[in-house]
């Protein structure tokens, strides 16, 4: 075994230029794989995080009827306790569950502003400010002023929306909305802050006020439209669903409420997960194409060394060992290429993970509804480098078995005849 390996190593050094050229394709393939995947991972991670924080929590609890017509943002189907006993009671009960570390009740409602002959539509979020700060560090998005306080007619706007409305922090604005009894009401709010989440969907459409303020103006005491539930990390979703289902068993509400894990709650999340799997297959395909070049070289090498093979065979090397020798030679090339590729690819991702890739120009025109940051910092992770490297080595090694088997077919008598 060892001597076969050392022969293979020596053979590789015989034509350094050829070896280098043969592995160049593998190097390129591995670099591209690593770099692309690092962007994809970064992109997915930030999308998942944004989605969890702003849309779904780890598990989202809403009324079934509300979910069916989500776009309407109906106030007729609130979250108001397991058995109509009120939101606060419900949260107290859920809080006792071990799997659950936090909850964000939100009351989302449509509102509009009438300016001249136009109406500007927007979405209000009544949120429990203290909980939001504690659970998802909501305060970090604040760029100006402060967040609204309880029992005050105060709101904070997404910064693009604020700009569009032509208002400033410290000013006032009168917004119109329908209460849960469907009477059209207007309230004048003081604008306390401007929020920049970096997500056009939020920044251009949404204002926040304190949950209790929203409950007051909408006539929805102790109610919310949704409850985002958080566990220790995002993989706890199943545990959360299980313990919430237990609660439903004890206190009722199972036919009223719907529990949705963040994984199942949105097209973009499911799409990205599927995409990650597809990319893995595409990477393997590209590495295989690159391996064809190594196969070519191996075929030539085998032809070139027919006499050597014949000599070795007549000296007693078995067919299996000859196959192994050439497989090693190919695998070593694949390995060398993959390692070099991983080093260069790792360097590239490490560099861009600090500097960042700016897609503002492309994303800027994609509309206001995307949940995507416009500057991407590729994720530098050893896991990514290892995956690409191992993929490169495995695929190229397997590919090399094909020509290596031909080497064993060389008959010593024929190979030596020319001598």
């Amino acid at each position: 075994m060892r001597y076969i390996l050392s022969i293979a190593l020596r053979n590789l050094r015989r034509h350094k230029l050829r070896t280098l050229l043969s592995i160049s394709a593998i190097i390129i393939a591995v670099i591209i794989g690593i770099f692309y995947r690092s962007i994809l991972i970064a992109y997915s991670e930030s999308t998942f995080e944004n989605f969890i924080q702003l849309e779904s929590g780890h598990v989202r609890l809403v009324d079934e009827e509300y979910a069916r017509r989500e776009r309407v943002l109906s106030l007729q189907y609130p979250v108001d306790g397991f058995d109509g006993e009120g939101l606060q009671n419900m949260m107290n009960r859920i809080e006792e569950e071990e799997a659950i570390t936090g909850m964000l009740p939100r009351l989302r409602f449509p509102a509009f502003y009438a300016a001249g002959d136009e109406m500007e539509h927007m979405m209000g979020w009544g949120i429990d400010i203290d909980r939001e700060i504690e659970e998802i560090d909501f305060g970090r998005h604040l760029t100006e002023g402060r967040l609204p306080e309880a029992d005050n007619r105060e709101i904070a706007f997404g910064h693009s929306l604020l700009e569009k409305l032509n208002r400033e922090v410290g000013g006032t604005i009168t917004l119109l909305y329908n209460t849960s009894y469907n009477s059209l009401q207007g309230t004048t709010f003081t604008i306390t802050g401007s929020i920049n989440t970096g997500l056009p969907y939020f920044d251009a459409n949404i204002f926040v006020t304190h949950l209790n303020q929203a409950q007051q103006i909408l006539d929805m005491p102790d109610q919310a439209t949704e409850l985002l539930v958080f566990g220790g990390n995002r993989d706890q979703d199943d545990a959360i669903v299980a313990s919430l289902s237990d609660q439903f068993q004890s206190y009722g509400g199972s036919d009223k409420y719907q529990l949705t894990s963040w994984r199942d709650s949105g097209g973009i999340v499911q799409w990205l997960m599927a995409y990650q799997r597809i990319i893995f297959v595409v990477m393997a395909g590209i590495v295989f194409l690159a391996s064809l070049i190594i196969i070519n070289t191996l075929m030539m090498v085998i032809k070139e060394r027919k006499k050597e093979i014949g000599t070795m065979a007549s000296l007693g090397l078995k067919g299996k060992e000859i196959v192994l020798l050439f497989t090693f030679e190919g695998a070593l090339m694949g390995m060398l290429g993959s390692v070099i590729g991983a080093i260069i690819g790792g360097g590239l991702t490490a560099y861009f993970s600090v500097v960042g890739l700016d897609f503002t120009e492309v994303m800027g025109s994609m509309g206001d509804s995307t949940l995507i940051d416009s500057v991407v910092f590729p994720t530098f992770s050893l896991e990514n480098l290892l995956v690409a490297m191992i993929l490169g080595i495995v695929v190229s090694t397997i590919a090399c078995i094909i020509p290596a088997r031909q080497a064993a077919k060389v008959k010593p008598s024929e190979a030596m005849r020319d001598l």
């Binding site: 034509h15 230029l17 050829r18 050229l21 043969s22 160049s24 394709a25 390129i28 393939a29 591209i32 017509r69 776009r71 309407v72 943002l73 109906s74 106030l75 007729q76 449509p110 509009f112 009438a114 001249g116 002959d117 136009e118 109406m119 500007e120 539509h121 329908n178 469907n182 059209l184 949105g266 097209g267 973009i268 499911q270 799409w271 599927a274 395909g285 590209i286 194409l289 690159a290 064809l292 070049i293 196969i295 070519n296 070289t297 075929m299 030539m300 070139e304 492309v362 025109s365 994609m366 509309g367 206001d368 509804s369 995307t370």
Partner: protein, 412 residues
Amino acid sequence: MLLIKIALRNLARHKKRTIFTAIVIAVAICFYVFADALIFGMMDSSYENITEYEYGHIQLMAEEYWQDKDDLPLQNLISLDQDLLDQLVERPEVTGYAPRLDFTAELTDGRDSIPLVGRGIDLEQEANNFRINDSLVEGSYLEAGEPQAVIGQNLAEDMELNVGDFLMLIVRTKDESFNVIDLTVSGIINTPNPYINDNVVFLPIDLARDTLLVDSDVSSHISLKLTDRELAASSSAEISELLATVSTEYKSYSWEEDAEDLIVMQEYSDMVLILVLGVILLLAMAGIANTVILSVIERLKEIGMMKAMGMKVKEVTFLIGLEAAGIGVLGGLLGVILGAGAVYLLTSYGINIYAGMEGELDLPISMAVIYGSWKPGTFIFVFIYSIVVSFISGLIPAYWGAKKEPVDILHE
């Protein structure tokens, strides 16, 4: 000719090697023509969605309206006299027109409300030139003089509205007060354009004008329908000139100007495609260079012989380069054939890339099965491109082999 013959013969000497190298090129080409057909098919249906259901091919509107058209103001509306409209329709590329009055509204059914766009339409012109009338899945089209509405299917489902139900639109009028339009749902439409299905209520334009307190002959824009989408830009420029003779404020805008999002998206997709093509071809180039070096190493003696017999370095380089180009031709042919097969399947059966995906993107792209479209230009481009790339990537190693001294080689 002789050189080509020699190159061909040389390629045939190592059939396996030639084919392996060509496969890389074939895969690159096959991928590219398939993806290109897919994107083209997707964009084609999106553009169709825009021109048939949203803007038409050309919109005539006041320049100041264009600047804040997203807010759907009731200021800076357009009014053209019938003579001018007739004159426009007489142009050979224009097939029809339709005036529209768009406004923001709050639809309410007494319990819930939803923000949307109200679109007042000229019943006859709209039915003749656009496809709203053809998209009815339930009920009937609007009747003149009746307070009726046609709404999209998604909107109907979200608000639980059926044909015959009442709905209320809360609107802001031109004199800055609130008003309400009471309507009966006469029909429900299902168009391939998700924006129309989700967000638009169609109603008679006269009713909209009356309620919004605007003049009885104004519109937000007048849509023109053309015989061919491609004519929009040039036609729009000419019509702008024509409009300039009657008014300084009215302009003509082609659909491309309003579909910037999509155009940018298409450019972005094209860029990604070229990038992926480039990456695979880069691998192919490395493969070709490798193959050429292998065959040069193998044939050093032949090369020395040829040079000794009087062939110049340039000719030998060209000969070996031709061999590389030959690989390109083979890979190109293989790729074009495979690609054509894939595109054929795509155009006949389509592909549902949104399978399992819920929710919608905020673009006028239908989330249905996508059928590819044939684009002969792509095939030709990518075939020639692969040959050129192959030839070029063979040249350097070819030169490296060709400049070896015959004496040195034959000595060995």
